[in-house]
């Protein structure tokens, strides 16, 4: 048998083999497609059950029966349901959510997430951070804090967001620390997570006002203005007065204005004095209006004559937010009692204040209409 004969015999055999292989691939794909479609349908069928549990105001019979059904799912279906469940869990609070989080812990989701936090795959580490932040199990702070210094920047961002959802005070310390160093997390992400922690973050934020990194101090000052439930006024006032970085003083001034504590007014008035940097003076003048304390009126009235336009304009606008005394000061200045520059700023502000605005009717008006 020569080589040509061998070739002539082998070619049809090879063609047949290829045909069989192609058919096997097609059949396998069709089978897998049907299996996936069945799985998708099964998961879609379970969605109303998940929503039902999550929307419950209390753990009643309906919730318990829903949880039992989920607990009985085979491992394959559970794996298919799990991503959707994690997504839904992050959108609600309440007894249904807590019951589902418990069920997920029992089914090993948390243990797997802790393991995946050390995976070589960045995607798996991201998923692990997301799961831990959503379920909020004990020990999540430690795992997520380690992911905050991950070599992958996306993992660090996901971990920072997840820490914000934990609602544990210890998360604030880790988040603030992540603002500096070669693997720093963007300040925007950290700020958002600190704000989510709310007043729980206050002890760590107050401590961070003394950090050596001005970036950490700036974020701490700003977030204190958003989340403080009291007790941060003195520390912020000291920061406005004495922090070596102007940006930190500016953020602290804004925060004092938002908090509106009477004790902060003195520090803000001092920050408006001519020896200070212009941007700080302008922000402090505006913050006095945010605070809206009548004690600031004499200082603001004087500032309307300031040679720096932004300071003078902000002072006039702030007076309009300091109640009747502030408005009276504006009217006197507009009538010519103060400098001509002050009069112009006062008149411009009064024009804005008096411009017709659409107000919602009072309850009494509504009642009359009814």
């Amino acid at each position: 048998m020569n080589s040509l004969t061998v070739l002539l015999l082998a070619l049809p055999a090879l063609a047949l083999l290829l045909l069989v292989l192609a058919m096997a691939i097609v059949l396998r794909r069709a089978w897998r497609g049907r299996a996936e479609a069945r799985q998708v349908a099964r998961v879609a069928g379970l969605r109303p059950l998940l929503l039902d549990v999550l929307a419950a105001r209390e753990v009643d019979e309906r919730v318990v029966s829903g949880l039992d059904r989920l607990d009985e799912l085979d491992q394959r279906t559970w794996h298919a349901v799990e991503p959707g469940l994690v997504r839904l869990l992050g959108k609600v609070r309440g007894p249904g959510r807590d019951a589902l989080a418990e069920l997920m812990t029992r089914r090993g989701v948390v243990a797997r997430a802790h393991r995946q936090a050390a995976s070589r795959s960045a995607v798996r580490r991201c998923v692990a951070a997301d799961v831990l932040g959503t379920i909020r199990p004990a020990g999540a702070t430690d795992s997520l804090s380690r992911l905050l210094v991950d070599r992958d920047p996306e993992v660090r961002r996901v971990a920072a967001r997840a820490l914000g959802g934990l609602l544990y005070p210890a998360a604030a310390t880790a988040l603030l620390a992540s603002l500096s160093g070669p693997r720093a997390v963007p300040a925007r992400v950290v700020s958002s997570s600190l704000a989510r922690l709310g007043p729980r973050a206050q002890p760590a934020l107050l401590e961070a006002l003394g950090a050596s990194d001005p970036g950490i101090r700036a974020v701490a000052a700003e977030i204190l203005g958003l989340v403080s439930s009291g007790g941060a006024g003195d520390a912020l006032a000291a920061t406005v007065r004495a922090d070596p970085a102007v940006e930190v003083r500016i953020r602290a001034a804004r925060a004092l204005g938002r908090l509106g504590s009477p004790g902060g007014t003195t520090a803000l008035v001092e920050a408006c004095s001519p020896g200070n940097p212009g941007p700080l003076r302008a922000v402090a003048a505006r913050a006095l209006g945010d605070a809206g304390q009548a004690e600031a009126v004499p200082a603001l009235r004087g500032l309307m004559s300031d040679p720096e336009h932004h300071v003078a304009r902000n002072a006039a606008e702030s007076l309009a937010r300091c109640g009747p005394r502030g408005l009276a000061a504006l009217e006197r200045a507009a009538a010519g009692d103060d400098s001509s520059a002050a009069g112009e700023h006062a008149a411009a502000t009064l024009t804005q204040v008096r411009a017709p605005t659409r107000h919602k009717p009072s309850a009494a008006t509504l009642s009359r209409r009814a």
Binding site: L54, R57, V92, R93, G96, R358
Partner: protein
């Protein structure tokens, strides 16, 4: 039956809010964005509107402002769903909304807030 209009681009939130309000006895209409919510409202005004703050294109605040300019929507109670309730208090007031509920929301809190704004509007 009290009618509620819910607009949120997130289907999960839409379905959850609808379920919470249905359980409270509301008849609920859901829409995926601001413009369609406004169309539905103009065709058939509702008793209370629940809007997501951060919808793409037309935000909840934008929808609220448009509603307030419409005679039919000027006084309808509006609840905004937001991820940062404390920070948007002032903006909510400026846009004319009646209340804000922070996401992730608790079903009981949402239901109570919606009931409260309806009671206030009727007072």
């Amino acid at each position: 039956m009290t009618r509620a209009l819910v607009a949120d681009d997130d289907q999960d939130i839409r379905d959850l809010v609808a379920l919470v309000l249905s359980d409270e006895g509301f008849e609920v209409v859901v829409q995926p964005d601001g413009p369609s919510a406004l169309r539905v409202f103009r065709d058939n005004p509702v008793d209370v509107v629940v809007l997501d703050l951060m919808m793409p294109g037309m935000s909840g605040l934008d929808v609220c402002r448009v509603l307030r300019r419409d005679p039919a929507g000027a006084y309808v109670p509006v609840v905004l769903l937001t991820s940062a309730a404390r920070q948007i208090d002032a903006r909510v007031a400026i846009a004319g909304a009646d209340a804000a509920v922070a996401k992730p929301f608790a079903p009981s809190e949402l239901a109570d807030r919606v009931r409260a704004v309806l009671v206030e509007a009727a007072a």
